[in-house]
């Protein structure tokens, strides 16, 4: 079940189909369920209601209550259910609704799902997919807005993906479900309604393969999740100033494709990492540490990190806006990098 259907080349046809991020996720999930009878979905209000973010719309109609399971508010048991079912050969998709709720079930993710294969001497696999909505921007405050990828990426045995648009939302979902390891899919709440071209057929996007979303020679910007769009917008802005930004979307942060990053930095000699999570201890630290180690002699400036300041996510939109990195701060960062000789 680990074979990956390569993404079909997007050939320019009459009217390329656009789909929203959440619908692309939904389509990928539905296709993966059609592909493999062992895939089922469990979570709070995923079946009858279709998920509070409409991630699971219409799936109950097609797949029925055997494969679409509404559960009590019991995230530890929910993930545990997934672990046990995966250990017995199913391919569960369990939904955590908000990523912030992970604190009530992290033991099952980290001490059970992630370590089981290793601790058991390889006796089994845990092909579990965990879906969750992350990120700030909706005024949902400190307990409903976090981006906690740094915790999960630090855990051997887990994989973590962060779709940045509708196309990756579908392809990464399909690959996560096909993968034989526990994979956490972090959907970004602000992106749910954003649209992009999405092929109709099922396709996977390899986990651990970064995508260069824009080519450029002056600064490399490595952006996670929603920050990819912000980086592309910053690149447009900077292009008008004659500065060419290369934008790299890692797509999966565990495994992390650092080779693509290194290769880019060898050309640009300047690099900025941006994510929504708090800067201190965020993924940007790991990326910066690896880059300065691997391509030290190519760097014309230190690796610059942009993330959230060291505070919980504030409620008031005026604060939240100042809190989350955006295109302006990215452009600003690139300019600063270029000023450095």
């Amino acid at each position: 079940m680990t074979t990956t259907t390569e993404a079909p080349a997007v050939t320019p046809v009459a009217a390329p189909r656009k789909l929203s991020y959440v619908k692309a996720f939904n389509e990928g999930l539905a296709q993966a369920m059609r592909e493999d009878e062992n895939v089922f979905v469990a979570g709070e209000d995923v079946a009858g209601y279709g998920g509070v973010f409409r991630m699971f719309d219409n799936l109950l109609d097609e797949f029925g209550p055997r494969r679409m399971i509404d559960t009590p508010i019991s995230e530890a048991a929910l993930v545990g259910l997934g672990v046990g079912a995966a250990a017995r050969g199913l391919r569960p998709v369990v939904d955590l609704m908000f990523m912030d709720f992970i604190g009530v079930c992290l033991d099952q993710i980290v001490n059970q799902a992630a370590k089981m294969k290793y601790m058991f001497g390889g006796a089994l696999s845990v092909p579990l997919t965990i879906t969750t909505a992350s990120g700030a921007g909706l005024g949902a405050a400190a307990q409903h807005s976090q981006s906690l990828e740094a915790w999960l990426a630090h855990v051997p045995g887990l994989k973590v993906v962060m779709p940045s648009d509708a196309y990756t939302a579908k392809g990464l979902t399909v690959s996560a479900i096909r993968d034989d390891n526990p994979v956490v899919i972090m959907l970004n709440k602000v992106l749910l309604g954003s649209t992009s071209e999405v092929p109709e057929e099922i396709y996977g996007i390899p986990l651990g393969q970064a995508h260069t979303a824009r080519h450029g020679s002056d600064v490399t910007v490595i952006a996670l999740g929603r920050m990819v769009g912000e980086a592309l917008a910053a690149a447009d802005e900077l292009a008008a100033e004659g500065v060419e930004i290369e934008v790299i979307d890692p797509r999966s942060v565990q495994p992390l494709d650092t080779e693509t990053m290194f290769a880019s930095v060898r050309r640009t000699n300047r690099v900025l990492v941006v994510h929504e999570a708090v800067t201190f201890g965020g993924l940007g630290a790991e990326i910066a540490a690896q880059i300065q180690d691997a391509v030290f002699d190519y760097l014309d400036a230190p690796v610059l990190r942009i993330g959230a300041p060291f505070s919980p996510v504030p409620f008031s939109p005026v604060l939240e806006k100042a809190y989350v990195p955006d295109r302006a701060r990215i452009a600003q960062g690139c300019r600063r990098l270029l000023e450095r000789s």
Partner: protein
């Protein structure tokens, strides 16, 4: 399985006229606060989420009327009713919903973190069940310091399925702490009916697993709630340990927001059946019938509250926004 509205107790309430008026005023305050908040949200004026308490007023009013100011409560995502009933000011609450610096959380917390330590309101909470152990800790502190205040923790039917609830209940029981567990059973956890998340008909039956007594009350009858709460609170205050109250109630609006319905998880008949037993109507009809209050007196409460709300909303709207330069304020103490 549809949530059935309990039938009203025919017993005449054995509480004073003063208590009836107190319950009435608390309920009206909640009702109007929430109704206006819903309108503001619909008008696009409020950021974030809004879990309205309308329909459940008798529970917050009934319990809070049994508490002293120094008694402590922990609340939930659906916390406005508790805050209002515990005496948190409209101004701070609306200003918080608007994200203003004059708000109950200086605009940092929003709806799900409204708190007022001066009123013993230890906060709404965005994590289902998380307030339960915190109330246990507050009760621990009271006993440790030799104070006789009690802690009340509110939670929904759905919340009793989460681990923290179970652990908190057992912890309170084994330590014999002065905590009152109030289940606001509105029949649903988001869009899942109680029958879809537990096999029990009465959540109160869970108390026995901790050796905790429990009682079930009509959660649309503020007087009934109040009497049960007064008993449980006095019991706890006297050192007899925790107790659980299950109040069968109903929320009128959607789980979040006002009308986000896209899935007919509740029938029109069910909603109508419950609204026919509206907690404020119920209390008003009885109060007028038995001469506890005149219609004019009751109307006056509504009017005064409306005025106070208009003032509070104006205050909130006129209040300044937080300054982004203060982003790191209050992350740490000291």
């Amino acid at each position: 399985m549809a949530q059935r509205a309990p039938t009203a107790s025919k017993k005449s309430p054995q509480v004073s006229a003063q208590v009836i008026k107190d319950l009435h005023e608390r309920m009206v305050r909640i009702r109007l606060f929430e109704t206006e908040a819903g309108k503001l949200m619909e008008a696009g004026k409020l950021p974030g989420f809004l879990h309205l308490y309308v329909g459940q007023e008798a529970v917050a009013a009934g319990v809070m009327a049994a508490l002293r100011d120094d008694d402590q409560i922990t609340s939930t995502h659906r916390g406005h009713g508790h805050a209002v009933a515990k005496g948190v000011g409209f101004r701070e609450m609306y200003a918080e919903l608007y994200g203003r610096v004059t708000g109950a959380c200086l605009g940092r917390g929003g709806s799900m973190h409204i708190n007022d330590l001066t009123r013993g309101m230890l906060g709404a909470n965005g994590i289902v069940g998380a307030g339960v152990p915190i109330a246990v800790g507050a009760a621990f502190a009271a006993r440790y310091k030799g104070e006789d205040n009690v802690a009340v923790t509110f939670f929904g039917d759905g919340a009793t399925n989460i681990g923290a609830w179970h652990e908190g209940a057992n912890m309170a029981a084994i330590l014999g702490l002065p905590v009152v567990f109030v289940c606001e059973n509105n029949g649903y956890a988001e869009f899942t009916p109680q029958s879809g998340h537990m096999l029990l008909t009465d959540v109160a039956d869970r108390a026995a697993a901790y050796g905790m007594p429990s009682v079930i009350v009509d959660g649309m009858d503020a007087v009934a709630v109040h009497r049960a709460a007064a008993e449980a609170v006095e019991r706890a205050r006297a050192g007899a340990g925790p107790m659980m109250i299950e109040a069968k109630t109903y929320r009128y609006f959607d789980h979040q927001g006002v009308k986000g319905l896209r899935h007919p998880y509740r029938s029109d008949e069910e909603v109508a059946e419950w609204k026919a037993r509206d907690p404020i109507d119920l209390l008003e009809v009885r109060a007028v019938a038995d001469g506890t209050a005149t219609r004019a007196e009751l109307d006056d409460v509504w009017q005064r509250t409306r005025d106070e709300i208009a003032d509070a909303i104006a205050y909130a709207e006129a209040s300044p926004l937080p300054d982004p330069a203060d982003l790191l304020l209050n992350v740490y103490s000291g």
